[in-house]
């Protein structure tokens, strides 16, 4: 139940962003295993595959080709197999209505992409740390909402 690392998946079509994320995770105190995907289709294929290790946290970029973040979110929320995955949406900019809508549709975390690496590291560290508490302390994931 309580492994000593947290598994993370990340779907983002921007290669630089993927690199920033994985670098940021590498510098965290919590051990992470990170897998990255370049679009929503690639991600969903992985998640739906029977042998795949499901992530504890999934980071979803909103704007991706083929299948965007919201489409992935809706698909994941429909399948009970994915109930335990905490979903973090991140995007460069968004309206209040839109942010609320993603939460209502089942996202746990909403991150506004920061402009610099130091801030990204700080935000990801907070998200992963709090998720670790949900993971190891039996907190109710249905009430897990966080905006960064």
């Amino acid at each position: 139940m309580t492994a000593d690392y947290i598994t993370i998946c990340l779907a983002d079509d921007d290669e630089d962003d993927r690199l920033f994320f994985t670098d940021a995770f590498d510098e965290l105190r919590i051990n992470t295993r990170v897998k990255t995907f370049k679009d929503g289709v690639e991600l969903m294929n992985y998640l739906n595959h029977a042998d795949s290790i499901l992530p504890n946290v999934l980071f979803l970029d909103l704007n991706m080709p083929k299948k965007n973040g919201v489409e992935c979110l809706l698909e994941i929320k429909k399948n009970v197999k994915f109930n335990d995955i905490a979903i973090a949406i991140y995007s460069t900019s968004s309206t209040e209505e839109h942010i609320e809508e993603t939460f209502v549709n089942g996202a746990n975390i909403y991150i506004k992409k920061p402009n610099d690496f130091e801030n990204l590291k700080k935000i990801l560290s907070e998200v992963v740390t709090i998720n670790w508490q949900y993971h190891t302390s039996g907190l109710n994931k249905d009430n897990f909402l966080m905006r960064m």
């Binding site: 609320e100 740390t129 709090i130 508490q133 109710n140 009430n143 905006r147």
Partner: protein, 187 residues
């Protein structure tokens, strides 16, 4: 028909442990939450069987000494946060006295294992309870702030916003909408 449930995890866990171990014919006693004493020595084969049954219910036998201590600190905090009685001593003093160890030592071990501080964990637990009360009871925010020992409702709101990035009312609005949406899908 759809109903909403509220859980008492301590009670549930106790009941499962009692039922499963009695079924297997073990003599044991439950000492407080999260501690179990067998009246006899358990052979490895049986111990593995118990471990497997427990794991099915998400109950884990903690073997590492530091993890055991951390679990005790967590249990103390959860009990402290969930009590209705007002606390008249500082939580650091309470935890140290309860576990009979120095607070700096407890604090170090806790941060090392959980990646967060005792202080922060207390806040997480309080905010979690506030969320539960907001959703599952008719208490308003002022009543919740009193129950959780906050000096004012503003203090609770500020801490809530700091931990979740949103105000209590924004949180409540989202959960209400989510429930409406899932009702629509399920009906």
């Amino acid at each position: 028909m759809k109903v909403y449930l509220k859980f008492d995890y301590a009670q549930m866990t106790k009941k499962i442990i009692q039922e499963k171990l009695s079924e297997l014919g073990y003599k044991f006693s439950i000492i407080g939450f999260g501690e179990l004493n067998f009246n006899e020595k358990i052979p490895t084969k049986n111990f593995n069987e118990i471990t497997n049954i427990f794991n099915e219910y998400g109950i884990e036998i903690v073997e590492n000494q530091k993890s055991i201590l951390v679990q005790k600190i967590k249990d103390t905090i959860i009990e402290m946060v969930n009590t209705d009685k007002p606390m008249n001593i500082k939580s650091s003093v309470y935890i140290a006295e309860k576990l009979n160890l120095s607070y700096p030592y407890l604090s170090n071990v806790f941060s090392e294992v959980t990646y967060t501080s005792i202080e922060n964990f207390i806040i997480i637990q309080k905010i979690e309870l506030a969320k539960q009360l907001m959703i599952n009871t008719a208490f308003n925010l002022t009543e919740i702030s009193i129950q959780l020992n906050y000096s004012s409702v503003a203090h609770l709101s500020t801490q809530f916003k700091h931990m979740t990035g949103m105000t209590p009312s924004a949180f409540q609005k989202i959960i209400t909408k989510r429930r409406k949406l899932s009702n629509k899908i399920n009906n």
